[in-house]
């Protein structure tokens, strides 16, 4: 194929995906779509294989491919021009019920030539708890509406009976309807633009370019794998749900041009919805693989071919129906992301050529907190605290992690302004800032997470409620690399000021830190809680992992971190061995301390020997 036409068609395909993403955001009115970028749009070939993955939540690129393939299998002979299919069953292909896939065949002159697929996290799915994450559900049946595939649009006509049935099962049906419209519009744009592209270049040429695009990605990825050393790398992730501990174990083996992710030894599935279906784990390992190993390769089927996954049936990474999975995307899938990130980065570190691409884990644990209740305008609303999309970058071989710098699986997320949140919900922020000592120590420091506290303000009902499906409090999940420490864990506190005032504790009207807020601090992480009166909710979110030995960190960088309030003097001395006074390194004491700490490490060895 001539490289000129190929280059032009490739660029156009990228633009088609980008335009479809913009359409999705324009129509969907929700903050989770617009701020969190919790969405995905991709193009697939006629057989359902991934052709061009867009920059959205990357877990979904592969599972939407499976969704296409499932529709092809189940609707064979009944796939017509203008149809749009819906699939959100996690045991068929999806990740969890609230991330609905709408999948559309693209025909040219009556011939099926491609598919487009997209998802948004819909406003509600009718699970036990509002907003999609349903910590109170103990099986898939209580996680809301779930379809292994149905035809939502028939030859261009929306099937009203089906749409009405779906909207009849969810809270805020009007907002869910809008989410549906956004996905229909998005697929229509993708279809229209693909058809114009084929009109211009003929089906034969476009088909050839598409197949070349895939074989090229495969070739490039295999070449990269061949350049990387063979070996076997391990990672272990722990996370806690309601007092129970779960483990994800990963052994990643790379041999020549093949790579295998083996999750044998991971915990048995949970009674809570943090489980991954097989498709969630499959997508979860690709979410870091695409940006870490294929940053300069088109994300498509060609990258998927050399990869194999082993995930034991009935485990937390391959749950058996009817295990609940509504929290998968902020549950075990993140353990899969993190473990894959660690193993891939270890492999990169073992390559002279690619070691600079290695990174410690970014934002190891999301905290999904959905507020619901009556807002200051008197209307019922549901909405996520978008701070979870603020994230924290892991430290990298090339330098420190970016403070509150996002995450790898969702490369272009962002969080809302305080003013936006205060205008939307009946809450007031007490503070929002980087969290001291949250970035994993190392030669390169992990990016910090952040902390904030909110309290009701102008709430007609005196407050609101929230659903929290938080993990990552009992175990740090942002692993370090090359000796770097993990980032700090997350911390969710219900501060019971109402109770304290009743018992005579004096009010602090404008506390500026968690310590200053009066009242008992109850650790919470799972379930539905009220936020009423003068109580507040405090969230400190996890930092990124560190890279390398903190005792080798440049002293001035430590002093700068102390001066900027992101590292305490205690940690500067204890972990970094740097004595800082008034923002300046005290060199003599630092030299002494660093030597002493090294000596202590060596002496520890002597004790072991005895």
């Amino acid at each position: 194929m001539d490289p000129i036409t190929f280059s032009i068609i490739r660029h156009r395909l990228f633009r088609i995906v980008d335009e479809a993403v913009i359409t999705l955001k324009h129509v969907s009115g929700s903050a989770i779509t617009n701020e969190g970028h919790d969405l995905m749009v991709s193009l697939y070939r006629a057989d359902g294989s991934l052709l061009m993955g867009g920059v959205g939540f990357l877990h979904h690129l592969t599972s939407a491919a499976e969704a296409c393939k499932s529709i092809i299998r189940n609707f064979s002979g009944n796939i017509n021009e203008g149809d749009i299919f819906l699939l959100n069953c996690p045991y068929t292909a999806a990740l969890h019920t609230s991330d609905i896939y709408l999948i559309a065949p693209i025909h040219h002159n009556g011939v099926l030539v491609a598919w487009s697929a997209c998802f948004v996290h819909v406003y509600d799915i009718g699970a036990m708890n509002p907003g999609g994450f349903s910590p109170d559900s103990n099986d898939i049946f209580t996680e809301g509406f779930s379809s292994p595939g149905l035809k939502l649009v028939d030859k261009g006509e929306i099937r009203k009976d089906i749409m009405n049935t779906i909207l009849n099962m969810v809270r805020s049906p009007e907002m869910v309807a809008l989410d549906m419209s956004s996905m229909i519009a998005c697929n229509n744009v993708a279809k229209d633009r693909m058809q114009s592209l084929i009109d211009k270049y003929t089906p034969k040429v476009v088909d050839k370019a598409c197949s070349l695009l895939i074989s090229q990605s495969e070739k490039l990825f295999k070449e990269r794998l061949a350049e990387l050393p063979d070996g076997c790398w391990h990672s272990r992730q722990y996370f806690d749900v309601k007092g129970q501990t779960f483990k994800v174990l990963l052994k990643m083996s790379k041999e020549g041009e093949k790579i295998v992710f083996d999750f044998s030894g991971s915990s048995a599935q949970s009674q809570y919805g943090i489980n991954c279906s097989r498709w969630a784990s499959w997508g979860g390992l690709f979410a870091p693989l695409f940006p870490l190993l294929c940053y300069d390769i088109t994300w498509n089927e060609g990258v998927i071919r050399p990869v194999k996954m082993i995930a034991p049936e009935g485990s937390v990474v391959n749950a058996t129906r009817p295990a609940p999975v509504s929290i998968a995307t902020v549950g075990a899938i993140q353990a899969v992301n993190n473990a894959a990130c660690v193993c891939i980065s270890k492999m990169l570190s073992a390559s002279d050529k690619y070691s600079k691409e290695a990174t410690a884990v970014w934002h190891g644990s999301h905290f999904a907190i959905f507020m619901f209740g009556k807002n200051q305008r008197g209307t019922q609303s549901i909405g996520i605290l978008t701070e979870t999309f603020g994230g924290a970058a892991g430290a990298r071989a090339i330098g420190d992690g970016v403070d509150v710098g996002g995450e790898v699986p969702n490369p272009i997320s962002r969080m809302a302004n305080v003013e936006t949140m205060e205008a939307t919900f009946p809450i007031r922020y007490l503070f929002r800032r980087r969290l001291k000592d949250s970035g994993g120590p190392g030669l390169h420091r992990g990016g910090t997470g952040a902390e904030f506290a909110i309290t009701p303000h102008d709430a007609p009902d005196g407050g609101i409620n929230y659903v929290i499906s938080g993990k990552g409090t009992e175990y740090p999940m942002s692993d370090g690399l090359g000796g770097g420490y993990p980032g700090a864990p997350s911390n969710y506190l219900w501060v019971k000021t109402n109770e304290a005032l009743e018992s005579g504790v004096p009010l602090v009207a404008y506390p500026n830190s968690i310590e200053q807020i009066p009242g008992k601090k109850e650790k919470i992480s799972w379930g539905v809680f009220p936020l009423v009166g003068l109580d507040s909710l405090y969230v400190g979110w996890n930092g990124g992992g560190g890279y390398g030995d903190p005792l080798s960190r440049d002293c001035d960088s430590v002093a700068r971190d102390v001066k900027n309030g992101v590292v305490s003097n205690v940690i500067a001395e204890k972990v970094y061995g740097v004595v800082v006074d008034n923002g300046k390194v005290i060199h003599k004491e630092t030299n002494f301390l660093r030597k002493k700490l090294k000596r202590e490490r060596l002496e520890m060895g002597k004790i072991n020997d005895i």
């Binding site: 490289p3 996002g406 404008y510």
Partner: protein, 706 residues
Amino acid sequence: MESIVKDKYIIATDVGGTCTDTVIIASGEPILVGKSLSTPPNFANGIINSIKDAAKNGSLDINSLFKSCRFFVHGSTVVDNTLLTRDGAKTGLVTTEGFEDTLLITRGAYGRWGGLTEDGIKHPVSTNRADPLVPGDRIKGIIERVDYKGHILRELDLDQAESSIRDLIENHKVNALAVCLLWSFFNPLHEQKVKEIVRSISPETYVSLSSEIAPVPGEYERTSTTVINAYAGRIIENYLQSLSSKLRDHGYDGEILVMQGYGGLLPAIEASNKAVGMLECGPAAGVIGSRYLGSLMGDENIIAADMGGTTFKVGVIQNGELRHAREPMVDRFHYVAPKLDVVSIGAGGGSIISIDPRTNVPVIGPQSAGAFPGPVCYGQGGEEPTLTDVMMLIGYMDPDRFLGGSVPLNIKLAKHIFKAKIADPLGLDVDEAAVGIYRIAAAQITDLIHEITVEQGLDPRDYVLHAFGGSCPLLCSMFGAELQVKKIVVPYTASVNCAFGLVSADVIHEYTHTETFSVPCDINKVNSIFEPMIKKAQNQLKADGFIDKTISMEWSIDLRYARQVHEVTTLIKGVTPLNKDSMNLLIKHFEELYERRYGKGSAYRDAGIEMTMFRLTAKGLVERPSVERLPINSKDYSEAIIDNRKIFVYLRNGLKESPVLDFDKILPGNAFSGPVLIHTPITTIVIQEGQTGHMDDLKNIIIEFD
């Protein structure tokens, strides 16, 4: 409409990175054009040189020119440059206690990926935030709190504020301060008090308040804007002062009007208070110039494309209206200020062509050979083939007549290097490869324009394409045809388009008020929001020297569907102050605009409509001399033919012998059928087979499709 009349000339000078351009207009006289090199850091010298060059072309003497000058209009990249070179003031930031990190954490990853291309976004491990203009230790939280309704919850602690400010000024030695407190756009009282404190401690410290610079919701963007303003504020103040005194030395003591990023002019005294307003004012002037040219030619729908050495920039004018950017950035910093929407890609004449060694696919840019060493064919030591070299290889440039023959081009060297680095690896001969690269460049530009037209619900077939800059006329006949635009205009003033835009701009003051109302609402309440803004605007414009007849006010309101996040600024086309009819008309226009921008079915009407921001655009109309039109001659252009050459013709996907014309020998009315080349003093205009061209009575070259 009668306007203030002072004297004869309007002089406009645009300072760009490399060149300073001048356009001078006067009634009944031809447009004068001048060009000279910019002279940083003393830009005023380059400005005078450029004016002298233009004056010389009209056989005028600069001092007498200034004596009869009515307005001096100015645009400059000085603020953009201050940011790019990190050359601004030592700046401190005062914000609400508890929220000191707002600027530094950039709403999370937003500041890390903002402004990156696809390649950067897909490679997060390689990306960082830009270093902030204010480091953490120069950010001070002060005790105060206002809520979402503008109610003061916690009074400003004056003592604590004073000691924070003293610390910044006395210990940190800052000489500029940005102040951004939560919800200050609703209630600016605390910010104003902070300003008073600074004044009392250190009157010489430059202060920017967010409630004055960017009174809009969203504390991150507001803070970032205020910081940029404080950072560059003193520099622009000094810059305009030194320009003013230089002009005074040459006998001009009138008003200096300064171009803003939204395409309007402000008197220098106001412009110097709002550095952030000058960001990207050059491209804005270009779009304004395009609109003016369109109005002279009767065209209201225009795609204004400008391609120079490093970038391709394009803006859209729809029904004579300009579009504003949604999330503007400068050097990876977000800011919020009214700014015309001009998008760009890194493709220009100097863009380097390379082959991705792994995929064997040719890539254009983003690196540029710059002015030095420049393209291979310049023979200045450039060893990387560029788009300009490709243009020469496909016959579009004359090696002996480039820039009037002042720079002989080395075609042999260009061919040799292009063959070795591009054609051979692709397995193509030189002609095929060069033609292929040209096609890719045209396709990428087509995709960019597609993005701002088709993808926004606009049909390029309704639009006229204006092609500006040194490189655009070489490519426009190809991508113009791909987009199927109505026609293409290569303006006579193509090389000094931004300066031309300056002479066609009006004085514009923008005022905003933020408050949320549900529709239907009390119309009187809405009118009462506009009243004080109008009063303020009238006083301002009168102080600028305008009278009632030359003052025009445009009202607009940002509307959205309740429970959706996208706002649409909607111009009130009915009568103002609003009555029931004009209010209904406004809502109707909003619904139409929303559907057009976001697509059919994108509106959720059941929850109603909300007003979120009230905007007043107050214009002082500058009277412009009428442009002189030239007599039309016969179609016969044979006098202008200077050569015949083989050039690339895209319909044949090959080369064809074609006539070459000298622009200076073409007369208005001459008409020609493609393929044909026209050499101008600064560029080459390519007209493809299947296209016709002619020169109109303003010396523009018009290209039409058969």
